[in-house]
C-alpha cells in the first residue's frame, strides 16, 4: 500500500448521543458499549464551530473530497435551530460538491426540516427494515411500540417535497434472515426509493449475530441469495447498493462500501462531545473498542494531525484482514474480509475471517453462477 497520508472519504458526525427510538439490535446502545451515557445529549455550538473550521482546513489540504454524514443516536433530535446553525456552518466550509447527508429513522422529518436541508444541499437517508410486521419486531420506541407508521409518515413527507429528487438519498434496512427476501424486496419497491442498502445485524465470533446459528451456517447468505434473485429477475429494479458493489467487483469495477472489496476507506467519527474515534461500529466488539489510545478532540487537534499519526494508520490498516484463511482466499477481492468488527473474537481480537464468511462465500458462489448464465465469466 502507498505510504502517503491517508485521506478521509467519510466523516460521521454524531450530533446527538441519544435516540428517540430503541431498536433491539442497535450497536450504539445494546451491544456492550456504554460511552453514549457519558456524552452530552446534543452537540454544542462550540463543537460545531470547531468541526466546521477543521473541515474548511481539510478541504484545502486533501486532494480528494469527502462526505459528511450527520448521525447519532438520532440526528434530528438536534432540533431545527441547532441544525440550521450547523448546516449553515458546514456548507460554508464545504463546497457544494462535498456531500452532506443525514442518516435518520425518519420520525422527526418535517416540512421545515426538509426546506432547511434543501437550502443547504443536504440529503436524507431513512432507516426502515421492511413491512410493518418486520420493522416493528425490532425498531420500537422506548415504550416498546412499533415505529413503522411514524417512519412511513416521514418518508411520505420526504417524497412529497418539491426538492425530493435531491433530498431523498435512499433507504437503509437491517436484515432479519427469518424473513422472506422477495416480500422485503417487493415492499421496498412499492416505496419507490432511489436506492436501498441492506446491513447484516452486528455480531462477532464470540457473540454470534442474531439469527445466525453457527460460524458455518449461512442464514444471511441464503437470505442474500434470495434478494439477489429477486433483484436480477426484476424487469424494473431499484438499485441495491450492497449487491451492486459486489457485482461490480465481479465485473471488474471498484466499490463504494466499507466491508466489501479491497478498497480501503478513510472513515472517522466525531462524537457528540467532539472526541474523534475510529469507526463506531467497532463498539459492538467490546466497550470502548472504537477509541484511539490517545484522546483526540476536534476542539484541540486538527484532523490532518490525526491522519498523519501512527495510530490512525494502524486503524486504517485494520480494514484489511490478517487471518491466513482470508489471505489465501480466492474471493478476498470480492468480500474484502468483511467489516473489521465482524472478525472479532475475544481470544485473538480481529485475526479471523468475518463471522459472515460462510454467508459471503455462499452469496458470491451464487453471483458467479448468475453472471455465468449471462455469459459474463471466463
Amino acid at each position: 500500500m502507498s505510504r502517503k497520508q491517508v485521506e478521509l472519504d467519510t466523516v460521521l458526525v454524531k450530533v446527538a448521543s441519544r435516540c428517540n427510538i430503541d431498536c433491539k439490535y442497535c450497536y450504539v446502545y445494546h451491544l456492550g458499549d456504554d460511552s453514549w451515557s457519558r456524552m452530552d445529549k446534543l452537540m454544542s455550538i462550540e463543537t460545531m464551530d470547531a468541526i466546521s473550521s477543521s473541515f474548511a482546513e481539510l478541504v484545502l489540504e486533501q486532494e480528494k473530497g469527502f462526505s459528511v454524514v450527520l448521525h447519532g443516536g438520532e440526528p434530528l433530535l438536534l432540533g431545527y435551530t441547532r441544525l440550521r446553525y450547523f448546516l449553515s456552518k458546514l456548507r460554508a466550509a464545504l463546497p457544494k460538491n462535498f456531500p452532506i447527508s443525514i442518516q435518520t429513522n425518519g420520525i422527526l422529518i418535517t416540512e421545515k426540516i426538509l426546506d432547511l436541508c434543501s437550502e443547504f444541499h443536504t440529503s436524507i437517508a431513512v432507516s426502515i427494515d421492511g413491512p410493518e410486521h418486520v420493522h416493528n419486531k425490532s425498531r420500537i420506541d422506548h415504550r416498546g411500540r412499533g415505529t413503522f407508521q411514524d417512519v412511513i409518515n416521514g418518508i411520505d413527507k420526504l417524497q412529497a417535497h418539491i426538492d425530493s429528487e435531491f433530498l431523498f438519498a435512499g433507504l437503509l434496512a437491517v436484515i432479519d434472515p427469518k424473513t422472506e427476501p422477495l416480500e422485503i424486496y417487493k415492499f421496498f419497491k412499492r416505496l419507490n426509493p432511489p436506492s436501498i442498502d441492506f446491513l447484516f445485524k452486528d455480531g462477532n465470533h464470540t457473540n454470534l449475530p442474531p439469527g445466525k446459528l453457527s460460524i458455518e451456517s449461512t442464514e444471511y447468505g441464503a437470505w442474500m441469495v434470495g434478494l439477489l434473485d429477486s433483484y436480477l429477475d426484476d424487469s424494473d429494479p431499484i438499485p441495491i447498493r450492497v449487491l451492486d458493489d459486489m457485482l461490480k467487483v465481479l465485473l471488474g469495477g471498484d466499490v463504494s462500501k466499507e466491508g466489501i472489496g479491497i478498497t480501503n476507506f478513510g472513515i472517522v467519527i466525531i462524537d457528540t462531545d467532539g472526541s474523534i474515534t475510529k469507526n463506531d461500529t467497532l463498539k459492538s466488539a467490546f466497550n470502548g473498542a472504537d477509541r484511539f489510545a490517545n484522546t483526540w478532540r476536534i476542539q484541540e487537534h486538527h484532523l490532518s494531525r490525526l491522519l498523519r499519526s501512527s495510530e490512525f494508520r494502524k486503524y486504517h490498516e485494520m480494514q484489511r484482514p490478517t487471518s491466513a484463511k482470508c489471505i489465501k482466499c480466492p474471493e478476498l477481492n470480492i468480500c474484502g474480509g468483511g467489516m473489521t468488527v465482524h472478525r472479532w473474537r475475544k481470544d485473538n481480537a480481529y485475526n479471523n475471517p468475518s463471522v459472515f464468511c460462510a454467508d459471503q462465500l455462499h452469496l458470491i458462489q451464487h453471483m458467479r453462477k448468475r453472471l455465468k448464465s449471462f455469459g459474463l465469466s471466463e
Binding site: 500500500m1 502507498s2 485521506e7 472519504d9 467519510t10 460521521l12 480528494k64 473530497g65 469527502f66 462526505s67 454524514v69 448521525h71 460538491n97 456531500p99 447527508s101 442518516q103 440529503s123 437517508a125 438519498a169 435512499g170 433507504l171 437503509l172 432511489p194 436506492s195 436501498i196 442498502d197 433483484y231 436480477l232 429494479p237 438499485p239 451492486d244 457485482l247 461490480k248 465481479l250 465485473l251 471488474g252 469495477g253 471498484d254 463504494s256 462500501k257 466499507e258 466491508g259 479491497i262 478498497t263 480501503n264 476507506f265 478513510g266 472513515i267 467519527i269 469507526n279 461500529t281 480466492p330 478476498l332 477481492n333 458467479r368 453472471l371 449471462f374 459474463l376 465469466s377 471466463e378
Partner: protein, 62 residues
C-alpha cells in the same frame, strides 16, 4: 484508493473468475437491466476517475 494493493492481489485471484474486462462488453447485449447498468457504471468509472469518494446514496458508517 489503494490501487497498488488491488493490483497486487488481483494477480492471485485466478479461480473461475468473471473477466475483469467485463466492463468492455457492450451492455446492450446483456438481457438484464441490473447488469446493463452496472457494466455501464464500471466502464464510466474506468474512463473517469472522478468523484470516487462520492458515496452517492445511503451514506453511513459501513
Amino acid at each position: 484508493m489503494s490501487s497498488d494493493f488491488i493490483n497486487n492481489k488481483s494477480n492471485d485471484d485466478e479461480k473461475d473468475k468473471v473477466s475483469p474486462e467485463s466492463y468492455a462488453v457492450d451492455p446492450s447485449t446483456i438481457p438484464n437491466p441490473v447488469l446493463q447498468r452496472l457494466i455501464q457504471e464500471v466502464r464510466h468509472e474506468k474512463q473517469n476517475k472522478v468523484a470516487s469518494y462520492n458515496r452517492l446514496h445511503n451514506r453511513h458508517n459501513r
